[in-house]
């Protein structure tokens, strides 16, 4: 036991003396959350738009003024013709152009309806879609005002946004970041640190020591488990205090599940370390087999239901998918274990399977 404690101490010192890497490990989740919270927005704000106004009447000028006054848009340029506008699109000066043709005022007077053309840069389809619907809303509101419709619309909708009343994006990215960081840092760091011993040849020294393989594994992995627990707390605290992401359910349950996920990530790291020989290989496997699926196939950023069926099937073997269902349930819906017992059992099964598999593989190398 004493021997093991000594080894454990050595491992901790080994990791914690590299101050810069330590800093980065703690800063990555914090920066990621701050960027998601303060930088990445999926709304339209001050989108630069241009105008081709061949009519120049009261109505078109009023429309342009209203667009410019709206928070969503900034009318930056008036073009004389389509060629000029197209050059503007190619040089990324504008995202959309509103076109009123020469007949605009005439048609509006005669037929009470006139065409408004919106040209959109759809090389970014989502942005184009948003700009299109916002412009249409502004036009329709103006038309309603002109009609002096006043009053309430005949059918109104009364939305009730469950679990996230103010539609805050933090409710998605805080749990997502937790899954990504735990998977990435835990699995990547642990696999690299073991492979490094192999690469530099010090693993052989460890193996001929009187330590049992299980002790070596435990000693190698526990510093990273400790590190990950610190990250869990920093993510949850920033999420809670800075972005107001609640934990409606039980903290104990949340921490237990997070620890289960950390164990799973560690066993994945261990498994990777038993099959590769170089640190670079460990890194690329971690990125391709762990980080990308965790980011893309877990429902973190992109909804799984929108993917092709085959990728939806692949998502069933991505542990982060289950982890996210569980922690979103605990944090945002405040439900207990009976709502996600299936997911917990799947994670537990995966963890046990991976531990058994990697311990077996690790022993094999000894002989």
């Amino acid at each position: 036991m004493n021997r093991f404690l000594g080894f454990l101490r050595k491992e901790f010192i080994h990791i914690f003396r590299d101050v810069r890497t330590m800093m980065i490990l703690f800063l990555i989740p914090i920066f990621q959350i701050l960027i998601f919270g303060y930088v990445i927005k999926n709304e339209v704000k001050d989108a630069k738009i241009g105008v081709i106004d061949m009519s120049h009447d009261n109505v078109t000028e009023e429309i342009v003024a209203r667009l410019d006054a709206a928070n969503d848009f900034e009318v930056v340029k008036e073009y004389r013709n389509y060629e000029e506008a197209e050059a503007g699109f190619r040089a990324n000066e504008i995202k959309a152009v509103i076109v009123f043709n020469t007949e605009f005022a005439n048609n509006l007077g005669k037929y009470r309806t006139a065409d408004v053309q919106i040209l959109l840069d759809a090389s970014d389809p989502n942005l184009a879609n948003l700009i299109n619907s916002y412009t249409t809303v502004i036009l329709n509101n103006y038309a309603a005002e002109l009609n002096n419709a006043g009053g309430k619309p005949i059918i109104s909708t009364e939305p009730r946004m469950w679990f996230n009343e103010n539609l805050q994006s933090a409710y998605m990215f805080v749990p997502g970041t937790m899954a990504l960081i735990l998977m990435l840092i835990t699995a990547l760091m642990s696999s690299i640190s073991i492979v490094r011993e192999k690469e530099t040849g010090t693993m052989e020294i460890l193996l001929v020591s009187p330590m049992k393989p299980i002790q070596i594994i435990l000693g190698k992995l526990s510093p990273y488990a400790a590190l990950s627990v610190v990250n869990v707390f920093s993510i949850l605290l920033i999420g809670n205090f800075v972005f107001g992401v609640p934990v409606h359910g039980s903290w104990v349950l949340l921490l237990l599940v997070s620890f289960l996920f950390i164990l799973l990530a560690l066993s994945l790291g261990l498994l990777i370390s038993t099959v590769v020989k170089t640190q670079q290989a460990a890194m690329f496997i971690s990125i391709f087999a762990l980080m990308l699926p965790t980011m893309l196939l877990s429902g973190f950023i992109f909804p799984i239901e929108n993917m092709p069926l085959i990728l939806q099937y692949v998502s069933y073997i991505v542990p982060a998918k289950y982890f996210l269902i569980i922690i979103k349930g605990i944090m945002l819906k405040g439900v207990g274990i009976d709502y996600f017992l299936k997911e917990v059992l799947i994670l537990l099964g995966m963890t046990i399977g991976l531990i058994v598999l990697s311990v077996l593989k690790f022993k094999n190398r000894l002989e």
Partner: protein
Amino acid sequence: MRTLLIILKKEFKQIFRDKMMIPVIFVMPFIQTIVLVYAATLELKKTEITIVDLDHSEFSRNLTAKFNASPFFDISTQYYNFGLIENDLLRENTKSIIIIPQNFEKNLRQGIPVKLQMNINAIDGQGAGLISIYVNQTVASMVREILPRNGNSNVNVMPVGFNVKSRFLYNEEMNFKHFMLPGILVILVSMIGIFLTSLNIVKEKESGTMEQINVTPIKKWQFLTGKMLPFMLIGILDLSLGLGIGMLLYNVPFEGSVVSLFIFTIVYLFAGIGLGLLISDFANTQQQAMFSIFFFFLIFVLMGGIFTSVESMPAWAQQLDRINPIYYFMRILRSILLKGSTITDLFKEFISLIIFGITVMSIAVWKYQKTN
């Protein structure tokens, strides 16, 4: 010159001797362009929606039919137990529940405004916002249909209306893959430029072979060129590979000129490799290098406009993007492929990348010490 050729030969041998590198270099473009492009879709396809019809009238059936016809909704249950709303949302049985109230038709015919309650699972706030917009659009289209029959409209006071005609330029079908593929190519090229260069150099340090090279008469520029040129070539190769897959598989257009694309790629790779070299100057172990790169890569990618629009970011973040090489290359690649922009159109990005590349490369080369 001969020395340089020999060094290059050694470097290529060393890179390809590593069994791991072949899959990394040749399989990576396939995985990224095929799996990632399919996975990374923000298109809202079909949302499960449950309609609780408490009115059972012509109007309520008309509205339900409208939802059924909309490409955005997938109507699951039509008859429904009112008390189970919360439970169904908690268990994710449905994404949203719309309740058509009693007397829906009666009130409408008498001109009394009615309210539709919609319950949306809003954990994905953005998605919930979209659902609410589409529901309102569907309701509005029904209102337009029933209004004239209500006798509310009068020919003499025909309402003023604008007939909005939208044209989606450069991507008429609003194909999200055409948007995503250039982004994935940027990640691909950056990974090769920054990660591989940096790790390759640090590996020599870690295994001690760097010292051996340092005592040879090889000059600093020869050594660095030998380290950087192979990754420049691999980067260009992988970009072409990924681009080829994208054009074949997703019909991604190539509107601009091939020459300008490759000129930009070389300029970008120069900057990226410079960054990789700079990081390797400060790292002693591969682990250190990896995590330093990870840190910067994450920030650059998230802020570079690959998955989301830079235009939506706050002004200070857009200012910060001036020192983000990924931001420039992202704009460049998308503009050349989808819009056919030329170097003149992208002159600002071109100059900025060159300045960035030269600055980073100069610092990196200056910091690199042949002697310890």
